[in-house]
Structure formats: structure tokens, C-alpha cells
């Protein structure tokens, strides 16, 4: 319509919408006026008044109908129609509470599951990261030239050089972490401290709550020590005292002046669980001195790209810089280069794909649920056929009826959606402890605005999906046939086809899910049954961290560890104990180190082989039941005054000493500045899965703790005592040496290992549950189709029995019908599963995506369930009394 039209018509339509009664009154007046004039005309022509009136009314054809026709021309009728549809829909749903309940529950399951998964996806993947313009952020690593995946930190010198010479970054910063002891205001406590370069605050666009963040001057060596504390610490420890700014706090026995408070929502990196204090890295007691050691790669680098600079451009510049640094400082940097990774990718990279797979799986469940409801609606629609046919005969347009049916579906959808959201909220709340803890941003998973919007859209889409087919079918039904008694049966034909098709679709979708679930379960079983290389049963681990201010020298570390082990051994039940740093599959990561073999031709820098590294007390291997293959374990003889020794793992021996005897050979490796210490290989031990249960063992080298002490480590104790007693025993031993030393993270090794496969476990659990739900829904679906068709065929069955068909024959007839559907669905499902599970092969361990055992067992399960589902209506059909059946329609 052209704009001029609107000027005339919009006021008119608005008027009829808002002043409906006025427009109605006018219409009434107009029509009655016409009748009156006509009457007068007839009277003037000689008719009696009464007769004239009657004829005039007849000629009008019914004032009410005419009024309705006039009203229909006002196109804003649709809103009134809609309200009427809604009311009618509500009434219909209330009239069949059983149907409504089943439909709502089915839909709630489907929508609820989807909403729950979406809330996780939303929190982890979709929500904008905490830092503005986070797509400009990149992480900066040092990597060996020929092993670009061996990411490591950068040294302070390299960092400063980069900052000076780089042109692609608008800002660069670095950080590390340390636990320091806060004393002075109450009990001494450990605070998680971020050691940063001051530029990190403008880089992350951090705004302090009170006071200021660090300034560039604070980052210089010899500057006055200042600290920024987090809002949580400020609140918890200092009671949100505003006068704290300018006061001094004591960290590791050194005074720091508080200059600002950062909001509780600010953390780096994004999902870190806790951050209490920020200080300049130059002020940290451990890392501060390391800054001047050029080989010490302590900083985790982060940079913000200038707008318009692409990743490739930046990487190219970093390559050039890396080469320049390698040439300028060959001692530390030769063979190394600089690599950058987008921050976002790094944080979510691992989790993205499995989450999408989960979303796909749960979407399938919803599809099955919709198919079920469509079936339900179809059977209802055909039984409402008479009602609909009557309405059509009385003048309702088919479009109107279809609209009304769709409105009913939308109502159902929204009801199901509402219940589904409730289910999702409960689900998320109860699942939270099960969620893998290393999933970032786990605390922000909640059912919020965008999740609700998703649920709403999904409900409406589902309503459309399951409502469209029945609505179309109902309105296309044959009019005269339906009005007649028993005419409903003839209208079944097309309905039956659609319902059969839906049942087949459900079964194939369920098959896909079942195969996926089965594959994941098998894979998980294999992962958990894998030999980790050590025995984690009844082992408790505890973390000890020696504060720098009290234990500054390696001698003190060694003394402490010796004393601790002695005290542990003295306690009954705790004799089987040892110290290690790090433990296999340690949550904080592994230590990787380059090494060289004395006597072998020297390799160019950067091409040195790397292996995982651990420093352990002599009893470690025995305690963890790691077998000795050749040579000997460490002993008390391996002290700092005796020659340096090492033990290697089987893989290292096989890979780097092929067909040679490694015992007696020497290797060079170590933490800078001791990286060139040569150590004699005195033993070979069995492999241990160091990275993850699903990864093959990596080459490992062990050194005795006495010869390479660390300021902290893990105490491991194997004991048959209860976990609580072991924990108490460890704490007591530590406290008896130093009463101020906290012991943290006491847990059983089994639990810690469980954490390492927590993602797999979560996935398997979810997909397994989804496939169980899908199976149940598909069973209900096929049951529904067969049961309904059987009830419609009661008449026919009665005839068959009366004509002499045996009960067994009837059973086979009905079962055959059902199993035909099931087999079709199975066939399609197998093909679909075969094609689709290939997508998730990266999530499987030890099982191929086309694993025949899984396919076979799932097929058997599905057929059994389908058979059971068909059996019930089949038995009912068997028991049909022909007399009863023939008498009823």
C-alpha cells in the first residue's frame, strides 16, 4: 500500500482497535438505520408495518452476520482472533489433562536439557570476555625453533627488548604467580599474588575501585614496594576499611604500601579462581632476583595488538625479533623464537568442540521429543476431525483453523518451555559440582537473560515443528467424510503415513545418540582402565610451599624435606611416604626440559630433545609402585656432595639410547642456571602417564630431591588409615617442624587423577544420559504409533478373528507392523550414525568411530526395546473380543 493510503486508513484501523465498542455501536446504528429506511419504503408502497419490517430484515440477511462480515474487513481483527484462539487453546488443553501432561513433560525434558547445555555454552563460549576488545589480546611465548608447540615463558630481558623494538603492540606486559604469606593484620595467611609488570593494567583496561593501579615507575628495580589488593581481600581481611590506602601490609616479611583496590570481577587470566594481591614482579622475593638472569624464562607474556594489525603481521614481526635476539644473545636465545597465540583461542580452544558436540546431541533429543508430540497431536487432530469439519462448514476459513491449531501448539510449546527452564535451572545447579573444574568461567554459568531468550525461541520453534504437520493435515482433511459418523477412519490414511514416518525418524535419531553414547562409554572405560604406570590406591597427596623469606637457600629446602620425611616415617601407618615435584598429571602442569647426552654429537641449538622432569625423594618409586627395570633407585648416597645422578623412564631409554645400555652414560639438563650439569644415569624405571591418562607416556627424567631441591612440592603418602587420619598426620608432621607453615590441597591421588579426566567423565555422563532419554522417548513414540493404529484397527482385527485368524497371527501382524518401523529407523540410524560419529572421533580413546562392537550392541538394545514397546499393544490386540469389536465403530 502506498503511503497516501496510510494517512486515511491508519487512523481508521487504530480507531477500530482502540474504540472497538464505539465502532461496533456505529456499525449497529448504520445497519439498523438501513433496515428502518427499507421498512419505511415498503410501508410507503403499501405493505403492513410488521410485514415490511420482516422483509427488510430478511433482505439484510441477518444483522449479526452482516456485522461480522463488516468486522472482518477490518484487518486488525487478527489480534482479537488471537486472543480468542488463546482462550480456546487453554480450554482444549485443560479438557485433556493427560495429553497435556505427557506433552508438557516430554517437551520440558527436551527444552530443559537444551537450555542447560546452552547455559554452559553461553557462559564458556559466547559471553564477551571480561576484557574489552579481547580479540586484540595475544599471549606471547618463547618456543624452540623446531618445536613450536613446546610453549614456555619469556625472560625479562627478551621481554624488555620486545617492548622496545616491537611496532605491532600498543601495549605489552608479563606476569607470573606466587603464593606469599600475608602477616600483620590477623592470622598469617597465604595470598595468591600476581607478579606483574605495571603495563598489564592499562593493557587489560583495568579500572581500580579505589586508589590507583601500578605505575611504570613501580616496576623498576629498587622502587618502593607497592601493592594493589583485590576487593575480596579488602573486604574479607581488612573489613573494607577505606583508610587502607597508604597503609602498609607485610608480604613474606617485607612491607608493601597499599595503593589501590581492584574490583572483585577483575582477574587475570579470565577464569582464575582467586586473586588477592598484585605487586610488581621486580618486588617478588623469588622472581625479583630472577629478572636479571637472562636465561630465566619466568614471564607469561601478553600483548594488545594495535588496531588493524593482523595476527600474521604480528607473528612475522615476532619471528624477525626472535632471530635478532638469537643472534644477539646466543647463549640463552639461540634456537628459540617468539610465538604469539590469540588469547581467546587459548582459553576456550579445548572446550569449544566438545561443547558443540554436546549441543548437537541434546538438539537430537529435542527433535525426538518434538516428533513424539507431533504424533500425539496428530492422533488428537484426527479425533477432532469432526469438530474441525463442522467449523469449516459453519464458515471458518481453513487458514483460521490452522492458525488456531498453531496457537494451541504455541501454548503447549511455551508451557513446556517454562517447565523446561525450571528443570534446566535445577539441573545446572545440581550439575555444577560435577562440571570439570578446569572449564573456565564456571562460576558464571547460570540461567540468565540470553539463556531465557534461547529457551523462548526454542519453545516456539519446537511448537512450530510439531504443530505444523497436524495443523496442515487437519485442515486438508476431507470435509464430508469427516462429518459423517465413522468418517474419521477414512481420514486416517495420510495421518498414519506421517505418524509412521515420525516414528522412523525418532528411532534413527535415537540410534545416532545411542551409538555416540556407547562410543563415549567404551572410550571412557578404556581410559580409566589404562595403566597409569603407578598405583594411586590409598595414596594421599598434600602440597607444601616454603615461603621465600624463611627458606631462601636450597640447603634449607633440603633440610626441611629430610626432616619432614623423617617425621612422616616415624608415624605409624605413614611409613610409605615420599616427596615429589611435580606429581604425574599434576594440575599445575608438568616441567619440560631440554637435555643433551654426553658423548653424542652435539645438536644445533633449538633441536635438543626435551623430556619431562621431576625431582623426587629416594623412596618415591617404591612408594608409587613404579617398577625398576634396570640399575637402581635413588638412595641416601645421592647427596649434593656425591656425583649427580639421574633415573630415566623406559620411553626415554628406548627412544634416545636405542640398542645401547644407558646405564653409566651422562646427560646434561637442569633448571637455569644449572642447565649444564651432567648427571649419570643410574637406573631405568617403568613409564608413567605424565600428561593425561589418554596420552601415551612421555620420556621422563628424574633427579634426587637432595641434589636438585625445590622450594615446594607434593608429599605423597600411601596408607591404609582413613583419609582424615592421614591428613591429620601430615599436618602434624609439618607443624612440628614449622608451626606457621600451611599445608594445602590435601586430597587422595585417585581424586586428583579423576580431575584429570573430569572432562571426559562429564561428556560421557551427559551423552549417556541423553541417549537414555532418547531411547525412552523413541520407545514411547513407537509404542504410541503402534498402539494408536491398533486401536483404530480394532474393528478390522475383530473381523479377522471372527473369520478365523489365530491369536498368534494377530500378534505377528501387529508386531510386524511395529518392527517394520523399527527396522527402517534402525537402518537409517546406522547410516546416519556412521556418518556423524566420525565428527567426534577426536574425543574417543582407543575406540574407532565405526566400532562394530558398539554398533552391534546398540542395535540389539534398540531392537529389544522396540520389540517390548510393540508387544504391549500387540497383546492387547490379541485379546480383542470380536463381538465387542464388531459392535463398536
Amino acid at each position: 500500500m502506498r503511503p497516501e493510503h496510510w494517512r486515511y486508513t491508519i487512523p481508521l484501523r487504530l480507531r477500530s482497535l482502540f474504540r472497538r465498542t464505539d465502532a461496533d455501536q456505529e456499525l449497529d446504528e448504520e445497519l439498523w438505520d438501513h433496515v428502518q429506511r427499507k421498512t419505511e419504503q415498503y410501508v410507503a408502497n403499501g405493505m403492513a408495518w410488521r410485514e415490511a419490517r420482516r422483509v427488510a430484515l430478511l433482505e439484510m440477511g441477518g444483522v449479526e452476520q452482516t456485522k461480522e462480515k463488516c468486522r472482518e474487513t477490518r484487518r486488525l481483527n487478527w489480534i482479537q482472533d488471537f486472543v480468542q484462539d488463546l482462550r480456546y487453546g487453554f480450554r482444549m488443553l485443560r479438557q485433556s489433562p493427560g495429553f497435556t501432561a505427557v506433552a508438557v513433560v516430554t517437551l520440558a525434558l527436551g527444552i530443559g536439557a537444551n537450555t542447560a547445555i546452552f547455559s554452559i555454552v553461553d557462559a564458556v563460549l559466547l559471553q564477551t570476555f571480561a576484557y574489552p576488545d579481547s580479540d586484540q589480546l595475544v599471549l606471547i611465548f618463547d618456543v624452540p625453533l623446531h618445536q613450536p608447540h613446546a610453549l614456555s615463558g619469556i625472560s625479562y630481558r627478551d621481554f624488555s627488548q620486545c617492548r622496545e623494538q616491537s611496532r605491532v603492540f600498543s601495549e605489552m606486559a608479563g606476569n607470573s604467580f606466587h603464593d606469599l604469606t600475608l602477616t600483620g593484620a590477623g592470622e598469617p595467611s597465604i595470598v595468591n599474588t600476581a607478579d606483574v609488570t605495571p603495563q598489564i593494567f592499562p593493557l587489560l583496561r583495568a579500572k581500580p575501585l579505589v586508589g590507583r593501579t601500578l605505575l611504570p615507575e613501580d616496576g623498576k628495580q629498587g622502587a618502593a614496594p607497592v601493592a594493589v589488593i583485590s576487593e575480596n581481600l579488602w573486604h574479607g581481611r581488612f573489613g573494607s576499611d577505606p583508610a587502607l590506602i597508604g597503609q602498609s601490609i607485610t608480604l613474606d616479611m617485607r612491607p608493601f604500601t597499599v595503593v589501590g583496590i581492584l574490583p572483585a570481577s577483575f582477574r587475570y587470566p579470565d577464569g582464575a579462581p582467586r586473586q588477592d594481591v598484585w605487586i610488581s614482579i621486580a618486588q617478588d622475593p623469588l622472581f625479583g632476583p630472577r629478572l636479571s638472569q637472562p636465561g630465566s624464562r619466568v614471564l607469561a607474556g601478553i600483548g594488545r595488538l594495535k588496531p588493524g594489525i593482523s595476527l600474521t603481521q604480528a607473528q612475522a614481526e615476532m619471528n624477525t625479533l626472535g632471530t635478532r635476539l638469537a643472534k644477539e644473545f646466543p647463549a640463552e636465545d639461540s634456537g628459540m623464537t617468539i610465538r604469539i597465540e590469540p588469547y581467546r583461542q587459548f582459553v576456550v580452544g579445548d572446550v569449544q568442540f566438545p561443547l558443540l558436540i554436546l549441543l548437537g546431541a541434546v538438539g537430537l533429543v529435542l527433535l525426538i521429543a518434538c516428533a513424539n508430540i507431533a504424533n500425539l497431536l496428530l492422533s488428537r487432530a484426527t479425533s477432532r476431525g469432526r469438530e474441525i469439519a463442522l467449523r469449516i462448514a459453519l464458515g471458518a476459513g481453513r487458514a483460521r483453523i490452522a492458525r488456531q491449531l498453531l496457537t494451541e501448539s504455541a501454548l503447549l510449546g511455551l508451557l513446556g518451555g517454562a517447565v523446561g527452564v525450571l528443570l534446566a535451572a535445577c539441573g545446572v545447579w545440581s550439575l555444577r559440582p560435577l562440571l570439570p573444574s578446569d572449564v573456565m568461567r564456571i562460576n558464571s554459568i547460570h540461567v540468565g537473560g540470553s539463556v531465557l531468550a534461547f529457551a523462548l525461541l526454542l519453545s516456539l520453534a519446537a511448537a512450530l515443528a510439531f504443530g505444523l504437520a497436524p495443523a496442515l493435515l487437519a485442515t486438508l482433511s476431507d470435509l464430508p467424510a469427516n462429518i459423517k459418523e465413522g468418517g474419521e477412519r477414512t481420514g486416517q490414511r495420510s495421518g498414519q503415513h506421517v505418524r509412521g514416518f515420525l516414528a522412523i525418524a525418532e528411532i534413527s535419531l535415537a540410534m545416532v545418540l545411542l551409538v555416540a553414547g556407547g562410543l563415549l562409554i567404551r572410550s571412557f572405560a578404556l581410559v580409566t582402565s589404562v595403566n597409569s604406570g603407578f598405583d594411586p590406591k590409598n595414596v594421599t597427596e598434600a602440597e607444601i610451599s616454603l615461603p621465600q623469606f624463611q627458606y631462601a637457600t636450597p640447603q634449607q629446602w633440603t633440610t626441611f624435606s629430610d626432616e619432614l620425611l623423617a617425621r612422616l616415617h616415624a608415624q605409624p601407618g605413614l611409613r610409605d611416604s615420599a616427596l615429589a615435584a611435580p606429581l604425574p598429571m599434576d594440575r599445575q602442569g608438568e616441567a619440560t626440559m631440554a637435555f643433551s647426552i654426553v658423548g653424542d654429537s652435539p645438536l644445533p641449538a633449538g633441536r635438543s630433545p626435551t623430556a619431562h622432569y621431576a625431582t623426587v625423594s629416594p623412596d618415591y618409586f617404591r612408594m608409587m609402585r613404579i617398577p625398576l627395570l634396570l640399575g637402581r633407585f635413588f638412595s641416601d648416597q645421592d647427596s649434593p656432595s656425591n656425583p649427580q645422578v639421574a633415573i630415566i623412564s623406559e620411553t626415554l631409554a628406548r627412544r634416545y639410547f636405542p640398542s645401547q645400555d644407558p646405564l653409566g652414560r651422562q646427560m646434561r639438563f637442569g633448571f637455569p642456571p644449572n642447565s649444564n650439569v651432567s648427571r649419570e644415569i643410574v637406573g631405568i624405571v617403568g613409564d608413567v602417564r605424565d600428561v593425561a591418562l589418554s596420552r601415551k607416556p612421555v620420556p621422563m627424567m628424574y633427579v634426587p630431591f637432595a641434589q636438585a631441591p625445590l622450594y615446594g612440592g607434593e608429599v605423597v603418602v600411601r596408607s591404609s588409615l582413613s583419609a582424615a587420619s592421614v591428613a591429620a598426620g601430615i599436618r602434624q608432621a609439618v607443624r612440628s617442624i614449622d608451626k606457621n607453615l600451611p599445608v594445602t590441597d590435601i586430597e587422595s591421588l585417585d581424586d586428583a587423577l579423576g580431575q584429570s579426566i573430569s572432562q571426559e567423565r562429564f561428556r560421557t555422563f551427559l551423552v549417556g544420559s541423553f541417549s537414555a532419554i532418547a531411547l525412552a522417548l523413541a520407545a514411547v513414540g513407537i509404542f504410541g504409533v503402534v498402539a494408536y493404529s491398533t486401536s483404530q484397527r480394532t474393528h478390522e482385527i475383530g473381523i479377522r478373528i471372527a473369520l478365523g485368524a489365530g491369536r498368534q497371527e494377530i500378534l505377528r501382524l501387529i508386531l510386524g507392523q511395529g518392527m517394520k518401523l523399527a527396522l527402517f529407523g534402525l537402518g537409517i540410524g546406522v547410516v546416519a550414525a556412521f556418518l556423524l560419529t566420525r565428527l567426534m572421533s577426536s574425543l574417543l580413546y582407543g575406540v574407532s568411530a565405526a566400532d562394530p562392537v558398539t554398533f552391534a550392541s546398540v542395535t540389539v538394545i534398540l531392537l529389544t526395546v522396540a520389540l517390548t514397546a510393540c508387544y504391549i499393544p500387540a497383546r492387547r490386540a490379541m485379546r480383542v473380543d470380536p463381538m465387542v469389536a464388531l459392535r463398536h465403530e
Partner: protein, 111 residues
């Protein structure tokens, strides 16, 4: 006598518009005038007249106004708008072409 119900909906609109082009009048008068002008051949049933008038009003081709007629009686008077006049011309044009075509076919000489 051809029954008005046989009229295609489109021609009814055109007729009503033309009647109202002569002068504004209320529904009853339109009905009477049409009957009179066409010599009783074209009669609109009351049940179709008012919905048609309301539709024309919705489309913006006529406007309505409650007025007091000569003898003091209140009635809803319809009048043609500028848009309606254009629509009338268009429809009259179409009708002319259609009727010419039909006439030509009917007037063909039979063998």
C-alpha cells in the same frame, strides 16, 4: 433479472465507487440509486452492500462521516476520495477492455 450475487466482487466495488462519485450519500441511498440507474437490473443485496462499503473505506477509496440529513435524521454518509477516484478510473478502464473483448467474441459470425 440478474441477481447481484452473480456480480464479481470487483465490479461491485466499481459500481459503488461510481455511484459515490456522483455525490456523497449513505448506504441506503447508494442501494436505491444503483437500482434506479440500472433500471432495476443491478441490485445489491443488503448483506453484501455494507461489507463492501466498509472494505472500500478500509482501502481508503471512500471516507465516511455521520451527518444529519435534510429531515434531521442521522446517517453515515460516504464520499469518494481522490484515491478512490483514481481507483475508479482504473477499474472502469479494465471493465471497458473486458466488456469489449467479450462483445467481440459474442458477435462472431457463426458458420
Amino acid at each position: 433479472m440478474s441477481r447481484p450475487a452473480d456480480l464479481v466482487q470487483g465490479t461491485l466495488d466499481m459500481l459503488l465507487l461510481k455511484i459515490l462519485a456522483l455525490e456523497p450519500m449513505h448506504g441506503f441511498a447508494v442501494c436505491q440509486r444503483l437500482k434506479q440507474v440500472s433500471g432495476d437490473i443491478l441490485q445489491v443485496s443488503d448483506g453484501s452492500l455494507y461489507p463492501a462499503l466498509h472494505k472500500l473505506e478500509q482501502e481508503g477509496w471512500i471516507t465516511a462521516e455521520w451527518k444529519r440529513s435534510v429531515n434531521g435524521r442521522r446517517a453515515k454518509y460516504y464520499a469518494l476520495t481522490r484515491l478512490g477516484r483514481r481507483q475508479l478510473e482504473k477499474e472502469a478502464d479494465q471493465w471497458g477492455r473486458l466488456s469489449n473483448a467479450i462483445t467481440r467474441v459474442v458477435k462472431l459470425r457463426e458458420a
